[in-house]
């Protein structure tokens, strides 16, 4: 608290905000931002430690690339502005690589492909999950996600699409009987709906195609001009896949659902 008010006094003097000069340091140390919790990709343990598939893989990549990495937790809305303002050097936070997004960010090679799936109440009358079947139905998605774009383009004219800020709100609305189906990242649906209640099930097709919508998988995001850093991460990714480190981490998090999420080749 004391330092905060010192900082405040400084801010008053300088008028622009407290300035803490620091050198960028040796190129070997980088900061990676992530938005928690997004189980099992990134989350904090009850003790407060950061963990998850992204975190463990990220640490393995850093070790391989001989980088000293530290993690920064950042809310979603500030995560890309923060990258652009150089508050940190990379984002590893379940980001799907799409053509639209490549215009703004540089991505690593995909490090995992997570499919999208339909989640419905167990007593659903849905069977085909196509245009006719879904006509007039209320479909939940997370706003702006690849799933949102897909259902909006495919079924937007016939079904009623409801866009939510987060998946937990979808779970609440489904239990209130206001939704017929949710279309989500498979692990998200798994952890917010299937693991929480036996009233829901996964049904219909599990999708990773077409790439136009579902992208090529999750990637690590950098600023457009960070080509070298992206290359180092790509090399490290190839190396951990070869030496079995990747498989170890993968099995730890997706061992029992290995058929649902497929490793990026």
């Amino acid at each position: 608290m004391h330092t905060r008010f010192t900082a405040l006094a400084l801010a008053a003097v300088l008028g622009t905000g407290a300035l803490m000069a620091q050198t960028a340091g040796a190129a070997e140390s980088i900061r990676i931002a992530t938005n928690v919790p997004y189980k099992p990709m990134e989350y904090t343990t009850p003790a407060g430690d950061l963990t998850g598939f992204d975190i463990e893989l990220g640490n393995a990549l850093c070790a391989e690339a001989d980088l000293k990495c530290s993690w920064v937790q950042q809310s979603w809305n500030g995560i890309i502005p923060g990258l652009m303002a150089r508050k940190y050097d990379a984002i590893m936070s379940s980001m799907t690589i799409t053509e639209d997004r490549k215009r703004v960010l540089r991505f690593s090679e995909p490090y995992i492909v997570v499919p999208s799936g339909w989640f419905v109440p167990v007593d659903t009358t849905l069977a085909d999950y196509d245009g006719d079947d879904l006509a007039g139905k209320r479909i939940a998605v997370q706003r702006g996600t690849v799933q949102d774009q897909y259902v909006t383009d495919q079924f937007g004219s016939r079904a009623k699409i409801k866009r939510y800020t987060n998946a937990d709100d979808i779970a609440v609305d489904m239990s209130a009987g206001r939704l017929d189906a949710a279309f989500l990242d498979f692990p998200t649906g798994q952890s917010t709906l299937l693991d929480e209640s036996d009233k829901y099930k996964n049904a219909g097709p599990v999708l990773t195609e077409p790439k136009k919508y579902f992208g090529t998988g999750f990637g690590i995001a950098f600023r457009r001009n960070q080509t070298d850093l992206a290359k180092r991460f790509n090399a490290a990714l190839a190396a951990v896949k070869d030496d079995g480190t990747y498989d170890k981490i993968y099995d730890k998090y997706f061992g029992d659902a290995a058929d649902e999420s497929e490793k990026a080749k």
Binding site: N77, M84, R143, G144, R163, D169, D173, G177, R178
Partner: protein, 241 residues
């Protein structure tokens, strides 16, 4: 310079973000935002005036419950009020079979309910303050003229209180416009909802949010201009001299 240019460039040349489909989202969002804010302000104002009178009346049985209402609605975040209105009512047993089902099945109604009650609470407090600040001399003069308390309220207290409350109420209207941005939390695609959509789809925060900021700015310029005109008419005699 190149860093800023890199952010500005997408605006100028690479116009992949502002396609007809995203612009349509922004337009729908604009319509929704204006709808929500306008309706809740009008109803809220109608509720606030009687509440302010009750609060200023000095009768405890009137004052206390209204005070509690304004305390709770001003004391808790609008987001929580919105959540309770949208998710809370949905869990009442059998509500889907009643005539009230329309109310919970379209998120716009719960949002209107929360916004209206919220702005009513803030507006009522603004008016109470203004009524209480009426100078005793004005009221004594009214009584000396033989006005009944009701006439005195209608002709003397309320007009002068309303004039005094005008700048603060102008703030409240703008607050409401900005506060309506949380409607996107209950699946309504308002202006901010459209900006979130574009941000999430293109991972491009600055164009998405600067564009929406300009739209909000135009809306609030219109509102602020309206209040300036209103003030010029009603507060002419109060110009500092």
């Amino acid at each position: 310079m190149e860093q800023w240019l890199a952010h500005i460039a997408p605006f100028l040349s690479d116009n992949a973000i502002f396609t007809p489909s995203t612009l349509a989202q922004y337009w729908q969002g604009l319509v929704r935002t204006v709808q929500l804010v306008f309706i809740s302000l009008v109803i809220g104002l109608c509720l606030a005036v009687p509440m302010a009178l009750g609060r200023a009346s000095g009768r405890a049985w009137l004052n206390a419950p209204i005070w509690l209402f304004t305390y709770v609605f001003r004391g808790t975040p609008l987001l929580i009020q919105l959540y309770v209105a949208y998710y809370g009512f949905a869990f009442i047993d059998g509500i889907q079979d009643t005539r009230l089902a329309f109310f919970i099945n379209d998120p716009v109604y719960p949002a209107l309910l929360a916004f209206t009650l919220n702005t009513a609470a803030y507006t009522a407090e603004i008016f109470v303050g203004a009524i209480r600040a009426t100078s005793r001399g004005e009221l004594e003069a009214a009584r000396a003229y033989g006005m009944s308390p009701i006439t005195a309220y209608r002709r003397i207290v309320l007009p002068s209180a309303f004039r005094r409350a005008l700048p603060a109420y102008g703030n409240e209207v703008i607050f409401m416009l900005h506060a309506s941005a949380i409607a996107s939390a209950v699946t309504i695609t308002d202006l901010t909802g459209a900006a979130y959509y574009v941000y999430a789809r293109f991972y491009s925060p600055f164009p998405a949010f600067i564009f929406v900021a300009v739209v909000y700015m135009l809306l609030s310029f219109a509102l602020q201009g309206g209040f300036k005109l209103l003030e010029a008419r009603m507060l002419r005699h109060l110009k500092p001299g």
